[in-house]
């Protein structure tokens, strides 16, 4: 019996003891960096955008004058399947200098995200700036906004050519609680809905604002 107990560890895999009942997070298919996850997540976008903070900083420092009120300019772009940002657009106040816009577009286009197997990802990232005695500087923002792609009615096997109008009608019949449908609106498929950009599901908590360091 004693010999059997001594041999027991040899008969069982060591990792069975090491991982516990929950398993090791590294063994998840979507563990960060795992080659089994071929889809781009907002957190990966955030890493790429934070990596470009210095480029954004230089744009603001060069092209935005001293004495401006703190504000926000956003860069909106689409990450193609090869990981390159395309259709970059800068949205800011009316008096945003043109050279700053061009610089921010170039800085965004220079970011290299991982190639992925998903649909092109439309994302928006706020560039929050403050000014100090040397000019403007940008603060890394903790959230990247992406257009959600919800899974709709996944328990029904619907024809692949079902229109968005028909999906909306089914949802309003079967699951939506509080919407009173407009028959005219829904009987015709109608234009494609354009959902608002929504923040990623679980952003990390925002760091406390830090006053820019004096150089």
């Amino acid at each position: 019996m004693r010999v059997l107990l001594l041999l027991l560890p040899l008969l069982l895999p060591v990792h069975a003891f090491a991982q516990g009942t929950g398993g090791d997070p590294r063994d998840r298919l979507d563990a960060p960096g795992s080659p089994t996850d071929r889809y781009l997540h907002p957190a990966e976008l955030r890493v790429g955008l934070h990596g470009a903070t210095e480029s954004f900083f230089l744009c603001f420092r060069r092209h935005l004058g001293i004495g401006r009120e703190p504000g926000e300019i956003s860069t909106t772009f689409t990450v193609a399947v090869d990981g390159k940002p395309t259709a970059v657009r800068i949205d800011g106040p009316d008096d945003t200098p043109q050279p700053l816009e061009a610089c921010l577009i170039a800085a965004t286009e220079a970011i290299e995200f991982d190639d992925h197997d998903g649909d092109p990802v439309e994302a928006s990232y706020p560039l929050v700036f403050v000014t100090d005695s040397k000019g403007a500087r940008v603060l890394p923002y903790p959230v990247v906004f992406v257009r959600p792609r919800p899974v709709r009615l996944p328990l029904l096997l619907l024809p692949p050519d079902v229109t968005r109008g028909e999906i909306l009608m089914l949802e309003r019949i079967l699951v939506n609680e509080d919407e009173v449908p407009d028959e005219d609106e829904l009987l015709a498929p109608g234009p494609e809905p354009t959902p608002e950009l929504a923040p990623e599901p679980a952003p990390e908590p925002a760091p406390a604002p830090v006053a820019p360091a004096e150089d």
């Binding site: 063994d27 298919l29 089994t36 899974v151 996944p154 328990l155 096997l157 699951v175």
Partner: protein, 287 residues
């Protein structure tokens, strides 16, 4: 002690008789074709349906036959520490038609080309995890038509070899994560026998199976509170090459009856539908 070790080794060897040998150093490619004949009946329409002309909706989504063909590629992206495989299957080409009784009409499913599904599985086909279904399935995407192609090409094999006219039973529960709110849960009860080797496959071995699947899934997404209970009869044949044990072909037929119910906050039934689905298809290794 020696007897115990011998018994353990012998039993492990018996279990290892049937498994997939998936090459870890190269891409595999398979042609596929599927046919889904779907019939949907609304058993209960809630008052919310009153403003709509549901007859037109039912005619559009109710009865149809969808056919697909194309090919997919797969490779071992990762070998986990327990020697399970992280298999990545990617749709490489896809054509589809839909027929509502007036002849087939081409479907544009190009959005599925390039999409990948990751499976963590043992070489026996035992499924440990999946990732990527949220990119395939859901109204308007069409990836459900490829569910059998991507999942049955690694169908879990029996623990014991059904050689010599034996019939080997196999029962397991499968859990397929669709997204954070929905886990498709099913119980499979299959009976495996020696199958007939196709004439065009010289050194091959075929295993045939028949059985039943029972699914009970609850969608916990607050925006789509629905549940599904369903039963299916399934049969198929898996063909392996010898001695490599690599998958050569797999053909199947599945007949589902699914009861899908949507619920109100209090748990009362809101709408109820019955879907009957006949799905058949095959995958075949590309030369």
């Amino acid at each position: 002690m020696l007897l115990l070790l011998l018994a353990t080794t012998a039993s492990a060897a018996a279990r290892r008789n049937i498994f997939y040998r998936i090459p870890e150093d190269r891409l595999e490619a398979f042609d596929f074709e599927t046919t889904h004949t779907v019939s949907t009946a609304f058993e209960r329409l809630p008052p919310e349906a009153k403003p709509y002309g549901t007859a037109g909706l039912i005619a559009r989504v109710g009865d149809y036959t969808a056919r697909t063909n194309g090919h997919f590629e797969r490779y071992v992206a990762r070998v986990f520490r327990d020697r399970s495989l992280g298999l990545l299957s990617r749709v490489a080409s896809l054509e589809a038609t839909i027929d509502r009784g007036e002849g087939p009409v081409a479907l544009d499913l190009s959005g599925l080309v390039g999409k990948s599904l990751a499976l963590r599985m043992k070489s026996s086909g035992e499924l440990l995890d999946t990732l990527g279904w949220d990119r395939f399935v859901g109204a308007g995407r069409g990836g459900e038509l490829l569910e059998e192609v991507l999942m049955l090409s690694t169908l879990r094999l029996p623990n014991h070899d059904p050689a010599g006219g034996k019939e080997v039973g196999a029962t397991w529960n499968a859990r397929v994560r669709v997204d954070a709110h929905l886990m498709r849960e099913s119980t499979w009860v299959l009976s495996w026998t020696e199958g007939e080797v196709p004439a065009d496959c010289g050194r091959c071995r075929a295993l045939a199976y028949t059985g039943e699947i029972r699914e009970t899934s609850t969608d916990k997404h607050p925006g789509r509170p629905m549940n599904l209970t369903g039963d299916a009869a399934i049969s198929g044949v898996v063909v392996f090459a010898l001695p490599s044990r690599q998958l050569v072909a797999h053909s199947w037929a599945v007949d589902w009856t699914r009861n899908v119910r949507s619920e109100r906050d209090a748990g009362d039934t809101r709408g109820a539908l019955v879907q009957t689905i006949h799905a058949e298809g095959s995958v075949r290794r590309r030369p």
